[in-house]
């Protein structure tokens, strides 16, 4: 789960990282009131989960109330690469002497947390890593020991932080590690981490990804993220506990098992089709579950045909077939379905479907055959 900048900054503040005071607002009047309260100059920042906000006109400096009003009304409602700005963050503008970079992430290869620091902040860090890798310090932390202050001072020194702020940077790194650890983050990043003319070290931006699997121990974080801009079907699926990812094609996909569903998307794409979603129905797909999944898939109006790809292990194909029949009775889909049942009780499953003679349901024996059929149907239906 990715957090918006202001949500990340709240987590930063919770763990002692210095951030500017500010306020998140959703309309122009509140923005102006917040700016007046905070005191000028202020920065008006679009809150969306996408990079490049500044270039898209989503971050602006306001010297007075008139400018604050103008910028807030320009930015609210702005579309930044498909993300609609519904919230702006107003904070007191900071004076900047230097822009650094700091992050902590879970390095899957090293099986350890990785702390990164650079004095080349405020730019795309992947570019720094590529063009001047010597300017990006990478330090693996022993996860059982944690990041010590001595280690953090070493990182700041090695990275070339100005001598008078080495301690301040080290404190920020220790606090950032604490954010990563205590909040169950997979990534906690500050870019830029600024040094003010008064030589204070402060987080001017935030990028945090939290582990969904750990949310049960962070009830206070449950409602974060960019709820308003979430795909509505994805949000509904999440509430129902279904693994669903919205894609931009027109072929609805259901399968059992994440790997098999990913593979189904690929095979459909290879057959010339374009998947509308990823949906993993999981193991033991009973009738209620199948019905729920069909409803989710069909609530996307772009869907022109649906592919059911089941390889029964724990899941029994006869159960899936009965589920599909029940779903058809209730939902009465208007688009064609291709159903491929293989594995546990596949013969019974296919027989049940054949006897039910559901309208516009086609059966296929193999995954490749199923993909070709559904692609042809999706094209014919349009």
């Amino acid at each position: 789960m990715d957090l918006l900048e202001y949500q990340g900054k709240q987590l930063f503040a919770r763990h002692g990282l210095e951030v500017s005071p500010g306020k998140a607002v959703t309309n122009v009047e509140d923005a102006v009131a917040a700016a007046n309260e905070i005191g000028y100059p202020v920065v008006v920042k679009a809150q969306v989960l996408i990079g490049g906000r500044g270039k898209a006109g989503g971050v602006k400096l306001a010297a007075d109330e008139a400018q604050a009003r103008q910028h807030a009304s320009d930015i609210l409602g702005l579309d930044i690469k498909g993300h609609l700005v519904r919230t702006v963050w107003i904070e007191h503008a900071s004076d900047i002497a230097s822009e650094y970079y700091a992050s902590v992430l879970l390095d899957r290869q090293a099986k350890a947390p990785l702390v990164m620091f650079s004095v080349e902040g405020g730019v795309d860090i992947e570019e720094v890593a590529e063009q001047t890798p010597e300017k990006l310090i990478r330090h693996h932390v022993d996860p059982l020991a944690g990041l010590s202050r001595a280690e953090a001072i070493q990182i700041a020194t090695d990275g070339g932080a100005d001598a008078d702020v080495v301690e301040g940077v080290a404190d920020a790194l220790v606090a950032l590690y604490e954010v990563w650890l205590a909040e169950d983050a997979s990534l906690a990043e500050i870019n830029p981490l600024i040094v003010t003319p008064e030589r204070k070290v402060k987080a001017l931006d935030s990028k945090i990804s939290l582990d969904d699997n750990a949310l049960y121990r962070h009830p206070e974080n449950q409602d974060l993220s960019d709820r308003e801009n979430e795909d509505p079907i994805e949000r509904r699926a999440k509430e129902q506990g279904v693994q669903y990812v919205a894609l931009d094609g027109d072929i609805g996909i259901l399968g059992n098992g994440a790997g098999l569903v990913m593979s189904t998307l690929d095979v459909v794409a290879q057959a010339g089709g374009s998947p509308a979603n990823f949906l993993d129905a999981g193991g033991g797909s009973d009738a209620a579950k199948v019905k729920q999944a069909v409803a989710l898939i069909l609530s996307n109006e772009a869907v022109k045909a649906v592919l059911f790809n089941i390889f029964g292990g724990i899941t029994r194909c006869d159960e899936v077939a009965n589920g599909l029949i029940a779903a058809f009775e209730e939902i009465k889909p208007s688009v064609p379905f291709v159903v491929r049942l293989d594995g546990t009780n596949d013969v019974q499953g296919r027989e049940i479907l054949q006897q039910a003679a559901l309208p516009n349901v086609h059966s296929a024996r193999t995954m490749n055959e199923a993909a070709e059929k559904v692609v042809a149907l999706a094209k014919g239906h349009s």
């Binding site: 059982l144 582990d211 098992g257 690929d266 990823f278 193991g283 292990g313 293989d342």
Partner: protein, 298 residues
């Protein structure tokens, strides 16, 4: 032979008294796996169809000497269950549980490495291991597979059954099928399991089934080029997965430009490992290498 589990496996199960835990434990026993006990705190002294239940792993070890643990407890208890089994001296821990926080997995991985180097962890979020004809630990549907010379290692369950079934229909069997799981910090990697298959007499060909996220497939590609003489055939799922989206498995996510299916397939192919574009093609390539007819069909 086979890898990790066989006739000598002595299995004990954490979470044996749960609905899923008891169902799959009994399933494993009817396959022929020697199930010697289960662990559920507070239920010591009970039994599950004759399988003794213990309060903790130390007692299970003292009474039944398990050499393999299967973890079936809910995510919030799983990390401690794994470590407790390791502390009791169990050599192989197979964690089926899905949904364990990544930080817990990190702690488990590093604690095992530091304090219990003699314990190997498979999973979490995996379907387990099947050595056809010998033992089944986990949720792999054994009826599709018979004994043979193909070793399978995979991050995904159903995809493994899909590929394995096509190989089986051509008449070939498997030495072992190892699910390493779909989480970000698995206890064992492709490299760990491929190394076992390389030194296993029964295994003549290895199938690797990977997916987006992380760099385990790239690491496997390097290892195969340097240290594996047996033929390896690979499959990668997730070519059409958009960046930044978790595709079902917690570990199946393309982060920025890293972890893509394209990069993984390229790394494998550059080192001479053929990558099938569909599960069917993987099976066809494997069958082609094996010679079109089963080497032994027992």
């Amino acid at each position: 032979m086979s890898v990790l589990i066989d006739e000598n496996t002595r299995l004990a199960v954490a979470g044996i008294t749960g609905r899923e835990g008891s169902f799959h434990t009994l399933n494993n026993r009817s396959y022929g796996t020697n199930v010697v006990g289960g662990v559920t705190p507070g239920k010591g002294g009970q039994d599950v169809e004759g399988i003794p239940v213990f309060d903790d792993w130390a007692q299970a070890m003292a009474s039944s000497q398990p050499n393999t643990a299967m973890i079936f407890v809910p995510p919030r208890f799983a990390a401690d269950a794994i470590l407790e089994a390791a502390r009791a001296g169990v050599e192989l821990v197979i964690a089926i549980t899905e949904g364990i926080p990544a930080h817990d997995e990190l702690r488990v991985y590093n604690t095992l490495a530091q304090d219990h180097p003699g314990t190997r962890l498979i999973g979490p979020n995996c379907p387990g291991i099947l050595s056809p004809g010998k033992a089944n630990v986990g949720i792999i549907p054994a009826s599709f597979f018979k004994q043979g010379n193909v070793g399978v290692v995979s991050r995904s369950g159903t995809l493994t059954y899909q590929i394995g079934n096509e190989i089986a229909q051509a008449g070939f069997g498997c030495s072992s099928i190892v699910g390493i799981g779909g989480d970000p910090v698995p206890g064992s990697s492709f490299v760990d399991i491929i190394e076992l298959f390389q030194s296993d007499d029964q295994t003549e060909l290895i199938v690797l089934s990977g997916e987006i996220g992380g760099s385990a497939e790239e690491e496997a590609a390097e290892f195969i080029a340097e240290s594996v003489s047996k033929p390896v055939v690979a499959y990668i799922a997730g070519f059409t997965a958009p960046a930044g989206k978790q595709m079902g498995h917690a570990g199946a996510i393309v982060s920025g430009s890293s972890g893509t299916a394209q990069a993984k397939a390229k790394a494998l192919e550059e080192r001479g490992v053929p990558v099938g574009r569909t599960p069917t093609e993987v099976a066809e390539i494997a069958i082609g290498i094996l010679g079109g007819a089963p080497a032994h069909s027992s």
